[in-house]
Symmetry: C2
């Protein structure tokens, strides 16, 4: 039995509310590789708990004496370290086009979705995180969370426009990676599934109507936590 | 010597003004494959000239007794028909992620760029095409060409925002397809090079400042027309 890896995940006030899409894509990546994982709840104010990683953000993955941060770097690490297991980012050309999809989510999808859900995310956070979150996000977006909450209809339309290429691609193929999901799909899956499950009931998300990818990916991947994994309640909700 | 293929290309009033990005990606695809091509100038009002293809749009590629239309279908055809030559869309997974890039250009980049250049394109068209073009584009975008011309600054900012994932990807790798260009790059190349060369001087395009991909692709691919190819003046301008 492989020793479980340890994954530090961003968490709300409730221990089961793991809302970070960057952490979720690593959960999916580990399930894709068939690697057992033990997750550790982490909150913004607990910088010292991940200081050993030499930086201040999650996901942080600990694999024996190896420590890796940044989701893309972790995906590359997993392919390099476990080459005999199903590939996540694949060979050079596939990795290159997958990186574009990674950047599309980071630079286009993420900002559009954030405008839609930041007020709700603020509401599910641990009290000790709320001021930090409000201050940093309002500075990044140049608008108050209260104002964002009032712009939901406009933000929803902008978000839908951003998703057009995803929808037109999935109209002719099951996955971004073709016939089976790979890291390209894991990146998008959790970015869109916010609000499509009951994991963080306070976060409304963009609604269920255009979550074809989420439903298909969850149904086909059928990933499960390894026995004894912490946070398995949240994971269980992603099963088909 | 391989018999030249025949490519019908959208053309302005001047025979050398080949402004359609969908036609250009096929020129690049043919150069990538090392296949000689004879191009045929085609204008919107010449529907009967391509009636043999069973539809009314260019690019149309004629290869012996084969006739193929739609740029994506042509790229797939070229890989299938000439498998011994360098791959354009590659194997199943790479083709799937390349298709996403194709859709990103069609659904996000194209509409944003069109708002920027439609008034200029109208100005370089054959007189017999201008009414048709104005009527169909104004209906599609729900705004007059005159109004679009007055929104250039706003449209330029929106276009730059759309390009963010392209720019952040190319900050860490030379091509969308990795170390060497493939169809993913040809799709984007000509979509962005409008206005970056002197081929259609009336079309201002988005300016040269963010055409890193265009310059790199032109420099490395160093594609040329086959001797005797019509429209070679326009092609020559894409050389490094």
């Amino acid at each position: 039995m492989t020793q479980p890896l340890r994954l530090y995940e961003l968490t709300g006030a409730d221990d089961s509310c793991r809302f970070s899409p960057y952490c979720w894509r690593i959960r999916l990546a580990l399930a894709h590789k068939g690697l057992p994982v033990e997750t550790v709840a982490w909150r913004f104010h607990e910088k010292e708990a991940i200081a050993f990683s030499g930086q201040g953000k999650v996901p942080v993955l600990v694999d024996g004496d190896q420590c890796v941060s940044d989701s893309w770097t972790i995906a590359e690490y997993l392919d390099r370290q476990y080459p005999e297991r199903p590939a996540l980012v694949g060979d050079a050309s596939l990795k290159a086009t997958t990186r574009f999809i990674n950047q599309w989510v980071a630079d286009s999808v993420h900002p559009a979705l954030a405008r839609l859900i930041l007020p709700d995310v603020h509401g599910v956070l641990d009290e000790a995180d709320q001021d930090y979150f409000k201050r940093t996000r309002e500075a990044a977006f140049g608008v108050s969370l209260e104002a964002l909450a009032g712009q939901r209809e406009t933000s929803l339309q902008a978000f839908r426009d951003i998703l057009k290429p995803l929808r037109s691609t999935l109209a002719v193929q099951d996955y971004l990676a073709g016939e089976a999901p790979a890291y390209a799909d894991h990146i998008v899956f959790r970015r869109l599934s916010v609000g499509a499950d009951r994991q963080c009931p306070g976060v409304a998300g963009p609604g269920r109507s255009h979550h074809r990818l989420v439903r298909a990916d969850a149904r086909r991947l059928r990933w499960r936590c390894a026995p004894g994994t912490r946070g398995s309640r949240a994971v269980g909700r992603c099963r088909a």
